[in-house]
Structure formats: C-alpha cells, structure tokens
C-alpha cells in the first residue's frame, strides 16, 4: 500500500521521474482538452442541439451561476480560472470509476500546485480589479494591528486548500485499499460511490472557496457597485 500515486514511478532518469501523478494529470488534461475541442468544434444555435453541446452548456452555465451567487457579478472574467479548477478536480474524481486509476489529486504535489495557483491568482485578480494601492489597503483592514494576521491567513488558507483536497482524495483511496483486504466483495463498491460523491463535493468546495477568496479580494469595489446598482434599481420604482 502506498500513500500517494507519487510513489508509482514509470520512468526515471537522474532526478527526473515520470510517476503516476504526472501521467494521470496529462491523461486528464488530454481528455478535457480533446473532449471540449471535439464538442465545441460544431456548435450550433438551432433549436436542435447535440447532446454533448447540451451537456457542456449545462456545465458552463451552472459554473457561471455559482460564481455569480458567490458575489462575482462579472463571472465570465473568472470562469476560465475557477471553472478549470472545478472541471479538473471533478474529472479527476469521476475517472475513478475506471479500474487501475488513481486520482492525481490524491497526491500532495498536485493539490499544492493548484492551491499555489489560487494563492497567486487572488492578488492578481484583486489588483486587476482595483489597483495595487486599494488592494494592499485591504491588509490594513479593519485595523493596522491585524496586518500580520491578514498575511498569515493568506498562507494558512493556501495550506488548508491543499491539505483538504489531498486528505479527502487520499483517504478515499486508502479506505478502499484497506476494505479490499477485509471485505473484497460488495463493500468496496459502496465506498467507491461514496468516494465519487466526496470527490464532487470537494471539487465544488475547492472552486467555490477560490471564488470566495477572489470575491473577498475585490470586495470593496463590488460593494460600491452593488450600492449604485441598488440605487439605480430603486429610482424607477419611485
């Protein structure tokens, strides 16, 4: 039994290793990229659309709506980042219905890489939205004494993102491996179903948390927008 798919090494030359995590990540990327290329190759706007296009539209509008509900009104700006995270993690969990597959998200390297992406993207989105000065002023809110805690929070939540996803996916694979040695017949199937559910929930949570962090980074501006919108909405009523 091994702790993570990192330990299954296919090819090694010096310190360069091609392990299961890398292979599975590339397979997933291929599936996602080729799949979406195949589907979006022939997009139509007729009443009659293909099943695949219908599925893709449901996914994209669903993600868009979730991002909007978190408070990011211009969701098309963020769906490229948040949607990619969601689709990758969901697909990584979903593919575990295939035999001999281990989710690459069960390795701390993958989840740490994705958490670092969030860690870098949040300030970038924040600065792009409201400028360096206003963004950095957030760290002094609500009082300058909280500056160290605000900075620590950036790091701890990145760590939490990485370890949460890793722990959930790894525990699923681990419990499955243990159950296979104890009750090999039916019970692992039930746990696989539970693992699928957990994988979907974790994909949702990872992307929603990324959206929440981005929303918090650009909060001030969104708030003023909401206020002005509310005022403009009120005026026609009166």
């Amino acid at each position: 039994m091994h702790l993570s798919p990192d330990q299954l090494i296919y090819w090694q030359h010096g310190f360069i290793k091609i392990n299961n995590t890398i292979v599975m990540t590339w397979v997933l990327m291929l599936v996602l990229v080729v799949g979406s290329w195949l589907i979006t190759r022939r997009l139509v706007t007729n009443l009659q659309i293909s099943r695949w296009q219908s599925m893709l539209e449901v996914v994209v509008t669903g993600i868009n709506q979730q991002i909007k509900e978190v408070g990011l009104q211009q969701s098309e700006k963020y769906i490229g980042f948040i949607g990619t995270l969601f689709l990758f993690i969901a697909m990584a969990a979903f593919m575990s219905v295939l035999p001999d597959y281990e989710p690459p998200t069960g390795s701390l390297s993958t989840t740490a890489a994705m958490a670092i992406c969030v860690f870098v993207a949040v300030p970038l989105f924040g600065i792009a939205e409201e400028g360096v000065k206003t963004y950095l002023a957030h760290y002094l809110q609500p009082s300058p004494f909280l500056l160290p805690f605000n900075i620590i929070e950036e790091f701890t939540r990145t760590l939490a993102l990485a370890v949460r996803l890793f722990g959930n996916m790894m525990s699923g694979a681990m419990i499955l491996a243990i159950l296979l040695t104890i009750t090999p017949l039916v019970f692992p199937v039930v746990m696989t179903v539970l693992g699928l559910l957990v994988g979907m929930v974790q994909a949702y949570i990872f992307s929603i948390l990324a959206a929440v962090y981005i929303a918090a980074a650009i909060q001030a501006r969104e708030h003023s927008n909401d206020k002005s919108k509310a005022e403009t909405n009120k005026k026609p009523d009166h």
Partner: protein, 93 residues
C-alpha cells in the same frame, strides 16, 4: 525496548489517538451546523440554495480539521520521519 520498537509503538498508538480524538470535535461541530441548517431550511425553504452553499463551504472548513488529524496519523503510520531516520541509521551503520 530498542528505539525502533519504541518509535513503532508510539507512532501507532498516537496515530489511533490522533484520529479518534481529532474526529470528535469536527463531528460535533458538523452535527450542530447541519442541525441549524435544517432548522433554517424548514423555516425558509426559499433560501435553500444559499443555505446549502454556505452549509457546504462551512462543512468543508470544519471537516478540514478532521482531515488534518487524519493526514497526521497517516504520516505517522506510512511516512514517519523518525522511523525512517532510525532505520536508515541502523542500516547504514
């Protein structure tokens, strides 16, 4: 007892205690969170989507503490740094 046995015993027992105690708090917390979410759902079914989303995010936050203890106990069992330190030293010299 030599140090290898000592480390093995300490690691295994600590791993069990870690997961056991570490799951108690999050379990109680998640129970409370779900109970109050159910109450709010019953009172305000219209706000179901908001409540469910907040509940999921909150549950993930609470659950992550349980996951941390689980990861720590898995490290103690499968990737124990003290164990590998002692065994490599014993193997090398």
């Amino acid at each position: 007892m030599d140090s290898v046995t000592l480390i093995a015993v300490a690691s295994i027992i600590t791993a069990g205690i870690t997961t056991g105690f570490g799951c108690m708090g999050p379990a109680l917390g998640e129970g409370r969170a779900i109970a109050s979410a159910m109450t709010s759902l019953a009172q305000q079914p219209d706000a179901a989507s908001t409540i469910t989303r907040t509940l999921f995010v909150g549950l993930a936050m609470i659950e992550s503490t349980a996951i941390y203890t689980f990861v720590v106990s898995m490290i103690l069992i499968f990737a124990n740094p003290f164990w590998s330190h002692v065994t490599t030293n014993a193997g090398g010299g």
